[in-house]
Structure formats: structure tokens, C-alpha cells
């Protein structure tokens, strides 16, 4: 008889708290549709690993060693992400990449702030939340040996889902109504198929030469993109975008929950990491907007940039681009910023990988 209830006696209140947290993540995923592909597996996994003497930990450890400890899952996922991205809006107007670069300011600013609270490698791992890119965050945090992987992932994916809530107030605070109403003309330049094919190769070589630790990240991303753009591998492209990406996402989400064991997760550190993650996103937005405002000082009337598009440089694709477009339409219902904001948004994906590679260069 005792065998039926002895496990119940092992339940701790900390585990119950984690069940609640898991439930909240599942609720946010289903009811609010916030990044359901990751939050739901993470939420359920948090419940799995926080049951007393949970047998799931062993299986998840196998998956963790197979795919996350060696950074394999995030890299394979990047193939799928690369295959999904259309860089045409960026190739039409490559200067938009400046905003993608500026929107990584939050990463480095957060690193500086986090260094007051954590040792420098942990600070760097936490700062990479600002990359707004799950695979990059996992990759960098894992290589730097951070013990905060669970908190970092929860923060990264939660804030990515909260972009429509986090970004607008920051954008409005940093811009005037007149600036938000600036109209930008769509450039009608055509991009050749050869450019679309050479772009992933050229970017991989440039980034790889400067930041060798980023070769895997940028390489897998651009490999996916090359499969898409080459025109002769349509079935592989489709597989990468759908089946491969979905398969890896399933494993990634539930495996990350291994780091959400109550003993590791319920700490003041986790709260602080969540706070620092928010700072990273806020200053990413700030950085992107401010670079546009600075550029406008030198640009003549008629050629000014709507500074809101700078905020789309955060790598949360395509949500950030849509947020900026929506804000533009709110100010002036004839002001369509989507083409520009999408171009900036995809450049943010590349820039976040570059930032991740530079962080590894500095601290590995």
C-alpha cells in the first residue's frame, strides 16, 4: 500500500512552483499563442522534470547530450530558419543592414550591466538573450558553459513572444510623431538570382574569417538559405523549412526543460536574468531607432528614414517587422513600412549571429 503514496511524500513546494510555471508557459502558448512551438514543450517539460524522482530526466539527459551539449539541435534548426528567410528586401537595399547591426546594442549593453552581478562568461551568456534568436542563445550559452541555460531560454523565447508589447512603448518614447509619420519609398531595384545565390556564400566567408567561432552558426543559416535560393533543391528546401525545423523544435523545446529543475531554476539569479533579458530587448530597440535618428541629422528632407524601422533590427522575425508596420499605419494609414522593416528584420538575423560569434571570440 505504501508503494502507492510514498512518492507523493517526496513532493516539495519548489516542484509545485515549477508545475505552476510550466502551466503558465503552456497557457501563454495555447491561449495567447506566444511562441507556442517552444513555450509549450518547455512548459510541459518543466512539469515532467519536476515530478519527484522523475524518470524523464534520464531520457531528457540523453537528448540533451545528443543535441544541446554539442550544439547540434540549434545548428540543424538554423538550416530550417535559413531556408525560410527571403533576403530579397535586404538585397534590394543593403544599407538597411546598418539598422540590424545597431539593434544588437542591447546585447553588449546588457553584458556590461550583467557583469556587475555575474562573472563575465555568465554575463555574456545572459546578454545573448538580446540576440532575440533561440539557436544563437543556446549555442553561445552552451559553449560558454553557462549554468543558466534554462533561465536564458525561458527569457529569450518569452521576450521574443512579447515583442508586440515590449517594443511599441520604447519606440514611441524615442521618436516624435513627425518622425513616426516619415514616409519611405520602396526601391524598385531588381535582385538577380545570381546575387541571391552568392549572398549566403559571401556572407559565410566574410563572417567566418572575422569570427571563426561563428562559422557553424552563420554557415548553417546560410546553407539553409542557399538550399532555398539555388532553385534546384526545392524538395530539400521544403523539408528544411517544415519537417526538419518542426522535428528539431520538438526535441529542442522539451530537452531544454532539463535545465528547469526547481533546484537550478528557482533562484534570485533567474529573476535577475529575466530582468536583464528585458533590458537587452529594450536597448536593442533603442539602438536600432537611435541610429536612424542619427542618420537623419545628415540626410536631406525627402530622403529621411522613418526611425521606427530601426527597431525591426531585433532578430524576432517576422514579428518585429509587423510591429513596426502596424505602428506606421497607426500614425498614417497610408504609410506602409513593411518592405523596409522586413529588410531590416532579416538583417537583424545575420547581425545577431555576428554578435554571437564576436561574443565567443572575446570569451572562449
Amino acid at each position: 500500500m505504501e508503494i502507492l503514496y510514498q512518492n507523493l511524500l517526496q513532493i516539495t513546494w519548489q516542484q509545485v512552483v515549477m508545475w505552476v510555471i510550466g502551466g503558465i508557459l503552456i497557457f501563454l502558448a495555447i491561449k495567447k499563442e506566444m511562441e507556442p512551438t517552444l513555450l509549450l514543450p518547455m512548459g510541459f517539460g518543466a512539469i515532467l522534470v519536476n515530478l519527484p524522482l522523475s524518470g524523464a530526466k534520464e531520457t531528457l539527459s540523453v537528448l540533451f547530450d545528443a543535441g544541446i551539449a554539442n550544439e547540434l539541435f540549434p545548428l540543424i534548426l538554423f538550416i530550417g530558419i535559413g531556408a525560410m528567410i527571403d533576403f530579397t528586401p535586404l538585397l534590394t537595399n543593403p544599407k538597411l543592414m546598418i539598422f540590424g547591426a545597431a539593434a544588437q546594442f542591447g546585447i553588449f549593453f546588457t553584458l556590461f550591466i550583467a557583469s556587475f552581478f555575474f562573472d563575465i562568461k555568465d554575463a555574456a551568456s545572459i546578454a545573448i538573450i538580446g540576440a532575440a534568436d533561440g539557436p544563437t542563445s543556446i549555442f553561445v550559452a552552451n559553449i560558454l558553459g553557462s549554468k543558466y541555460l534554462g533561465a536564458i531560454m525561458v527569457a529569450a523565447y518569452s521576450y521574443m513572444a512579447l515583442v508586440p508589447i515590449v517594443q511599441p512603448p520604447i519606440i514611441k518614447l524615442c521618436t516624435t510623431k513627425k518622425e513616426r509619420c516619415i514616409k519611405m519609398h520602396v526601391q524598385g531595384n531588381q535582385v538577380s538570382k545570381l546575387t541571391k545565390i552568392l549572398f549566403p556564400i559571401v556572407v559565410t566567408i566574410i563572417v567566418g574569417l572575422v569570427a571563426p567561432d561563428a562559422v557553424a552558426l552563420i554557415g548553417f543559416l546560410m546553407f539553409g538559405n542557399l538550399i532555398r535560393e539555388c532553385g534546384v533543391l526545392n524538395s530539400l528546401s521544403e523539408t528544411a523549412q517544415k519537417v526538419l525545423a518542426n522535428l528539431v523544435t520538438i526535441f529542442l523545446g522539451i530537452t531544454i526543460s532539463l535545465k528547469m529543475v526547481a533546484e537550478e531554476f528557482l533562484a534570485l539569479d533567474t529573476l535577475l536574468i529575466l530582468g536583464l533579458g528585458l533590458i537587452a530587448f529594450v536597448f536593442d530597440t533603442f539602438g536600432g531607432v537611435m541610429i536612424a535618428k542619427i542618420m537623419n541629422i545628415f540626410l536631406p528632407e525627402g530622403k529621411k528614414i522613418n526611425p521606427m524601422i530601426g527597431a525591426a533590427g531585433i532578430s524576432a522575425f517576422p514579428m518585429s517587422a509587423r510591429v513596426v508596420n502596424k505602428l506606421g499605419l497607426e500614425e498614417d494609414n497610408q504609410n506602409f513600412l513593411l518592405m523596409h522593416s522586413i529588410g531590416v528584420n532579416v538583417s537583424g538575423q545575420v547581425a545577431s549571429v555576428i554578435a554571437g560569434g564576436l561574443i565567443l571570440n572575446f570569451f572562449r
Binding site: 519548489q14 512552483v17 535586404l90 538585397l91 543593403p94 544599407k95 543592414m97 546598418i98 540590424g100 547591426a101 545597431a102 544588437q104 546594442f105 546585447i107 553588449f108 549593453f109 553584458l111 556590461f112 557583469s115 556587475f116 552581478f117 555575474f118 562573472d119 563575465i120 555568465d122 554575463a123 555574456a124 549554468k147 543558466y148 531595384n189 531588381q190 535582385v191 538577380s192 545570381l194 546575387t195 552568392l198 549572398f199 559571401v202 556572407v203 566574410i206 563572417v207 572575422v210 569570427a211 526547481a262 533546484e263 537550478e264 531554476f265 528557482l266 533562484a267 534570485l268 539569479d269 535577475l272 538583417s347 545575420v350 547581425a351 555576428i354 554578435a355 564576436l358 561574443i359 572575446f362
Partner: protein, 68 residues
């Protein structure tokens, strides 16, 4: 911090937070911030120039006015 550790933080692991000013860490973080942003802009600049060059090289040549 010890008070927090022993009371509020009975929930989980001992905190890894080490709040304080460390001149060496401060300067290292500041230099990484500066070099990181500079690095991103430089690499981005090179990529922008490469794309502009690619677009110029691969764009269809404009017809000469005299060509029928």
C-alpha cells in the same frame, strides 16, 4: 546577500550573484561593449559593400541607346 540566501532563497540553489564593483571586470566589459559594436558595424559594412558590388556585377547590362 547572506540574509537573502538563507531566508528567501531556501527555494533553490545558492545564488551565483556576486554584486560589486570590480575594476578589471568593469573595464573588460566596457571594452567588449565598445569592440563588439565596432566589430558588428565593420563586418556589416563589408557585407553591405559586397552586396552592392554583387548587385552591380550581376545586374543585366543597360541597353546602349544606339543599339536597336
Amino acid at each position: 546577500m547572506n540574509f537573502i540566501n538563507h531566508t528567501v532563497l531556501q527555494a533553490g540553489a545558492e545564488t551565483g550573484i556576486k554584486f560589486g564593483y570590480d575594476a578589471e571586470k568593469f573595464l573588460k566589459a566596457l571594452s567588449v561593449m565598445g569592440m563588439g559594436m565596432l566589430g558588428i558595424f565593420i563586418i556589416t559594412g563589408v557585407i553591405i559593400l559586397s552586396v552592392i558590388l554583387l548587385n552591380k556585377i550581376t545586374s543585366p547590362k543597360k541597353r546602349n541607346k544606339n543599339t536597336p
